[in-house]
């Protein structure tokens, strides 16, 4: 425990520095407009805030719907212990995506406009509705944690009554939302580099979101076990690593088929920045896939964690490629985010980590927390399906 103290202060100092720069960047954004805070231009209207804060934010929140589907719909009870942290991540993720949008929209005061002024032909319209509805669903899925904490049983029962339709709705909305972020780019066939532009972008975005949802769950379990000094649910995470390996295989195979059907492989012979970034992205998915198929990598917490981190970075590389670098050549311009864009992004990530930590500390998120009373918890949970059915 003593060893941890200085480490935390270093992190706190970094955190404070990030927040201060983030606040100054916020000042620039508010008082000097998008032009004062970003390197965006008429030819390159979307940058880091869309590609990372929104596209990666939504993807990294995918553990929520993946685990809800696994635990409650497919009824794989053994994953129950990591369900709550996944829902918390998803809820925080979505709230922070909205925060990111407030920075990126030219008129954040009009965030609500798509709910009133409709255009069902727009993917962005679908995205707006998915963000709104799914954030609401995640709030309701997370609410029981708060209600339990304060012993409010009546509203808890109400939520239990609607929990099944709510969970199905959540999975459907996530499916639509994850895929629609890919659909956004179907409209730019002449701009997005052909290694990434594909008519099945929505399918690829959906599949990769499942992979990163699982990877994020492993990631946060590992971190929280260190932060709170609790035991890691290793057998559970090992089997999740197995699932992750299979999901990655399916994803990579579909990408391979897609590239082959579009005759895009000759592009890999070109010595261009896009080729290398594509290679990086694929490597960060292939390597963890190969490693996760091996028992000795799944069964060591550190190695399992490393694999999850690689998947997360592979996913981020993919979204940044689709959202920024893959568009540069086609837009005829270069884009490197300004420091203020990076500062806002890091601040949002930092605040996300901090809030997660605080909530996990004060609310019943990790079941190993209440290890002594574990049987009681299990018993309490058992009647749920019957009650609903």
């Amino acid at each position: 425990m003593k060893r941890k103290l200085p480490k935390i202060t270093v992190w706190r100092a970094i955190f404070a520095a990030i927040l201060v720069s983030g606040l100054y960047a916020t000042y620039l954004r508010v008082f000097h407009g998008l032009g004062g805070a970003t390197n965006l231009s008429d030819k390159f209207p979307w940058g880091l805030w869309i590609a990372f804060d929104v596209m990666c934010g939504v993807g990294l929140a995918a553990g929520g719907f993946t685990l809800v589907a696994m635990v409650h719909i497919f009824n794989i009870e053994k994953y129950h212990p990591v369900l709550r942290p996944a829902i918390l991540t998803a809820f925080l993720g979505y709230v922070l995506v909205v925060v990111g949008l407030l920075y990126d929209l030219g008129r954040p005061d009009r965030l609500w406009h798509p709910l009133v002024m409709w255009n069902p032909h727009s993917v962005m319209f679908e995205v707006a509705w998915c963000v709104t509805l799914y954030t609401t669903v995640l709030f309701l899925e997370f609410l029981p944690v708060v209600l339990e904490k304060f012993g409010l049983h009546k509203p808890l029962n109400w939520i239990h009554k609607i929990s099944v339709p709510l969970m199905i709705l959540g999975v459907l909305l996530s499916t639509l939302h994850q895929s629609s972020l890919g659909s956004l780019f179907l409209i730019v066939p002449e701009k997005l580099y052909p290694l990434w532009y594909s008519p099945i972008l929505p399918v690829l975005f959906f599949l990769s979101s499942i992979a990163v949802g699982l990877a994020m769950t492993i990631f946060e379990s590992w971190h929280s076990s260190r932060a709170f000094g609790r035991a890691l649910e290793l057998p559970l995470l090992m089997s999740m690593g197995r699932v992750l390996a299979v999901v990655l295989s399916v994803y990579l195979w579909v990408r391979f088929l897609d590239l082959s059907h579009r005759h895009a492989f000759p592009l890999l012979a070109r010595n261009r920045i896009e080729t290398w970034l594509f290679g990086l992205e694929i490597a960060l998915m292939v390597i963890p896939m190969v490693l996760l198929y091996q028992h000795r990598f799944r069964s060591t917490p550190g190695r399992l964690y490393a694999c999850a981190v690689m998947v997360v970075f592979g996913f981020i590389t993919n979204r940044l490629n689709v959202g920024t670098t893959g568009l540069e050549a086609g837009s005829g311009t270069h884009y490197i985010p300004r420091w203020s864009e990076v500062a806002v992004t890091l601040s949002i990530v930092g605040v996300g980590f901090a809030i997660f930590r605080l909530v996990a500390q004060y609310f019943p998120i990790f079941e190993a927390h209440t290890n002594q009373s574990a049987p009681a918890v299990v018993e309490e949970r058992q009647p749920e399906p019957i009650q609903v059915a």
């Binding site: 008429d42 030219g106 009009r110 406009h113 255009n119 032909h121 995205v127 999975v171 956004l184 002449e190």
Partner: protein, 247 residues
């Protein structure tokens, strides 16, 4: 009939009178410094580019099936029956999807403003509604920019190519590009040489996203049945197992 603009690059003398008239029509400042700018921007909605000894105008193409109209989540952009693509700044929330999606990279943004708007040419919707010419066509001293019915302008363009085939690159830019545009170009040289985008697909781009969006009801309905069914099966199994265990 839908209105259009025909710009004949072979007639253009690069006087930039259209730029000045456009600025005046929008109430935007115009001076030598702005005149020297070669690109369209939020304060310059049309620009006369110089390509060697050739000139080429840039302005909103006011497409027949506009990409920007299809992508705008709040319907701030509309294709009017008259032809122009109009913009309602009061609806716009600044997502800039129109800018990202436009195959001609036309929409521009007021980057430095605290309450910014998108800006683009709307083919003088207000003037044309009142039966007047677009400001650029009215002011053009050599008839390089003319304004009229699209079908008539296409006939006129074909007539010009037919009369002087050696002076024209034998095609009309804007007939098929992105499914057809309301601004048509004639040129003496291949279009790429005067800065026009030649990689724009002929297919109307809204189709690319609509193909997926129209599946949303199918995904939702099939998903509901599938997930509901899986839930019913898996939890029924658990229920039965529990009851049998009890007995």
């Amino acid at each position: 009939m839908s209105k259009a603009i025909l710009y004949d690059s072979t007639l253009c003398i690069g006087c930039k009178a259209c730029e000045g008239a456009c600025a005046e029509r929008w109430g935007l400042p115009y001076n030598d410094q702005i005149a020297a700018e070669q690109t369209i921007s939020a304060h310059k909605l049309t620009a006369v580019e110089t390509h060697g000894d050739k000139f080429c105008r840039r302005l909103c193409m006011n497409c027949l099936q506009p990409t920007c109209v299809s992508v705008c989540p709040v319907g701030a952009l509309q294709k009017t029956a008259l032809g122009p693509v109009t913009y309602d700044a009061d609806k716009c929330m600044g997502c800039r999807y129109c800018m990202q999606a436009c195959p001609f990279q036309v929409p521009t943004y007021e980057w430095s403003k605290r309450l910014p708007k998108m800006r683009k040419c709307n083919m003088c919707y207000e003037r044309q509604s009142a039966g007047k010419q677009t400001a650029c066509a009215e002011v053009c001293p050599v008839g390089a920019t003319v304004n009229g019915d699209r079908d008539e302008l296409i006939r006129e363009a074909k007539r010009r190519i037919g009369e002087k085939p050696d002076q024209y690159y034998g095609k009309i830019y804007g007939i098929n590009e992105a499914g057809g545009t309301s601004v048509l170009f004639l040129s003496a040289v291949p279009f790429a040489q005067i800065g026009l985008k030649t990689n724009v697909p002929d297919e109307p781009l809204p189709e690319t996203t609509w193909r997926v969006l129209e599946l949303v009801p199918d995904v939702v309905s099939t998903g509901t049945v599938l997930l509901g069914g899986i839930y019913w099966i898996t939890n029924r199994r658990a229920e039965v197992a529990k009851k049998e265990g009890r007995r």
